[in-house]
Symmetry: C2
Subunit: 383 residues, 2 copies
């Protein structure tokens, strides 16, 4: 399979965007990526988690391709809960790497905020094992609360350490013009926010968001060298797991993410200690800790103390979620995995709003549900 480069990127603002429709968001991000790459895609992968339930709209490949004037192209919609973006990125990478197409557009989009909040909870349960989890009232928040309790019980992780993830996310997003939240949050605010599912409270969870992100992929060989450094997809890994938590062997980590990371590291020929910047799936504060451990950035059980000490901050060993992540940049489900790639590309180009100095190797980590699907990509700066 041939090497694949990211030739163009695009991203809308994330937030409650009342004046923009699902197709507006898709078009804005997609056209940015196409314009920057200055090539026309031959195929389009659309990542979207819940268009049928959020917007009463499916058949999204054809619909959205049409809205950017490319209705004749083959267009494929991918759904893997909030890992839809990462899965679509991997399929787009494989399409170019394997020779199905030379130029592929991968755009993730979600328009979540047109729904009332009660129904938001229902849509969340469709990403769980509905028969045994959703129907029992266990939405994603409740399931992540179980994970948090297990991590606290097994490793002595404290409530304050978990809350530190939220404080860090908001600090990182302050400079991000596309972020849903630019406000700082204090530790006390996280600890005293409205309760959701013990120990998680309102400020532990990522918001419902509208937004889109896009990458245009093409062969590295022959890619036009512009004023910006070229970025290559050096590794790609995906793995799955039982969705239902009661069937898992462990709740203190996500084995699917460990396997996806191992595959991506192997393909890229690097190890976790080589990574200089990461965008990880902090759907909840506890998920940041789990991610750091699953990816090998810190030892199992040590992430609570490590996050509190700043290991994942801008001055830490592994700056993580400089964008603000799902918590503060926002979490339009289908767009998450693609937005992570966009931020890593910016970091490697040296054009990020919250820049990690001299980064040459970055990683994105996208999780569906509570670890039922995980996708890891590694990106390298090419000279």
């Amino acid at each position: 399979m041939r090497d694949v480069a990211v030739l163009g990127i695009g991203q809308t603002k994330f937030g409650e965007l009342w004046d923009k429709s699902l197709r507006d968001l898709f078009a804005e991000a997609s056209l940015q990526a196409i314009d920057e790459a200055s090539v026309q895609p031959q195929a389009i992968y659309v990542a979207n988690a819940g268009g049928g339930l959020y917007n009463g709209q499916q058949h999204l490949g054809a619909l959205l391709a049409d809205h950017i004037g490319l209705s004749s192209l083959e267009a494929i919609r991918i759904e893997a809960a909030d890992a839809s973006g990462g899965v679509a990125l991997r399929q787009g990478w494989a399409a170019v790497a394997g020779g199905l197409a030379d130029y592929v557009l991968v755009t993730g989009v979600e328009k979540m905020t047109d729904l009332e909040s009660d129904y938001q909870g229902y849509v969340q349960t469709t990403f769980t094992d509905q028969d045994v989890e959703g129907f029992s009232g266990l939405n994603l928040t409740a399931l992540y609360a179980l994970v948090a309790h297990q991590h606290m019980a097994a490793f002595g992780t404290t409530r304050e350490q978990i809350a530190a993830a939220t404080v860090q996310a908001h600090a990182h997003a302050r400079k991000n013009p596309l972020a849903q939240f630019n406000n700082a949050v204090k530790l006390e605010s996280v600890l005293n926010a409205a309760a959701l599912a013990s120990p998680l409270r309102m400020l532990d969870g990522a918001p419902a968001s509208d937004g889109a992100a896009a990458v245009l992929l093409g062969p590295l060989d022959g890619a036009r060298k512009g004023r910006l450094p070229l970025v290559r997809i050096a590794g790609s890994g995906q793995a799955g797991d039982v969705i239902a938590l009661h069937n898992r062997r462990t709740l203190t980590g996500f084995p699917a993410a460990e396997r996806a990371a191992a595959a991506a590291y192997k393909q890229a020929g690097v190890s976790s200690s080589d990574i200089q910047v990461a965008e990880v799936h902090d759907a909840y504060s506890i998920a940041l800790l789990i991610a750091l451990e699953d990816l090998g950035f810190v030892a199992r059980g040590q992430a609570g103390a490590a996050v509190a000490e700043g290991v994942a901050g801008m001055a830490g060993r592994i700056p993580t979620n400089p964008s603000g992540g799902l918590k503060a940049q926002g979490a339009p489900l289908g767009a998450i995995g693609v937005a992570q790639a966009v931020e890593i590309v910016r970091q490697l180009r040296g054009t990020a709003s919250n820049q990690v100095a001299n980064a040459r190797l970055g990683l994105s980590h996208n999780v569906g549900g509570v670890g039922g699907t995980a996708v890891v990509h590694i990106f390298s700066k090419e000279d």
Copy 2:
């Protein structure tokens, strides 16, 4: 890209299967295909059109992979309305052809009959351009009725000629043990059935169905020769179009299907006259006529007379839908495109319930909505 063979097939009965769940159906078809191929897949493509709306269940890749004991594998859910199966088949083919994996399971599944009929109509509209079609009350039946009127006005196609498609479908399905309907239907019954959207009536439309179908794909080179002939995927093409009919240049054919067919014919190095058996997307009676013309089996405008004369019957020039097609075998949306492939493989192996003698080259044609997405595959018998 390397040659790809179909190493195993599986299919459940299609129908109102009250005693089988979405995951039961998925498992039954998938395990048949895996057992027959005697290899374990490394990746799983799940085609499903409306699990979120029909079953309150998304994140279907991980969920269904788990249900067949393969939870650790990467699993990708594809949605393209009723073309989900064909699109997933093409992605699975590309994964093997391009080197992402050696063995890939592609399973299409839909569980539609748990919903009351009013809500069925709503789900249909999510496959249209909801903003301009669905919200105006135009569901798929109404849109296909517009297509039928255009075909009648442009070419003098008669109501009786259109109805002949339904009579033929039921005649073909009589021997199919997996078909939803085994009853013969008379022309008068079609003409006098309850009105849906003029000129289409109840017996012009495919039913809501539960069911699943699966293929296991692998490299042709080195494929084990068993007692059954090997079948190769000789051509694959996909194209899109504007979903909204008011933006189409023509309503008397589906340009996406013409482009998908042209790509598949070119890749296979054959023409329409070489095809000996076809499974086409007869979501409505008129759609059979459109398909025969889009695929080049009959000249534009001639399908009405040709179908009435039996050109697509078992003794005709191009035996079409020997399974009974969507109309009589059944139409579980996500399974359609995969079931078409399964039937063509049976035909080329010589094991079909309604066998076309000595068929060596077959075609499947899967359409999403009213031609917004189209996928065509060509299969050849290898000696």
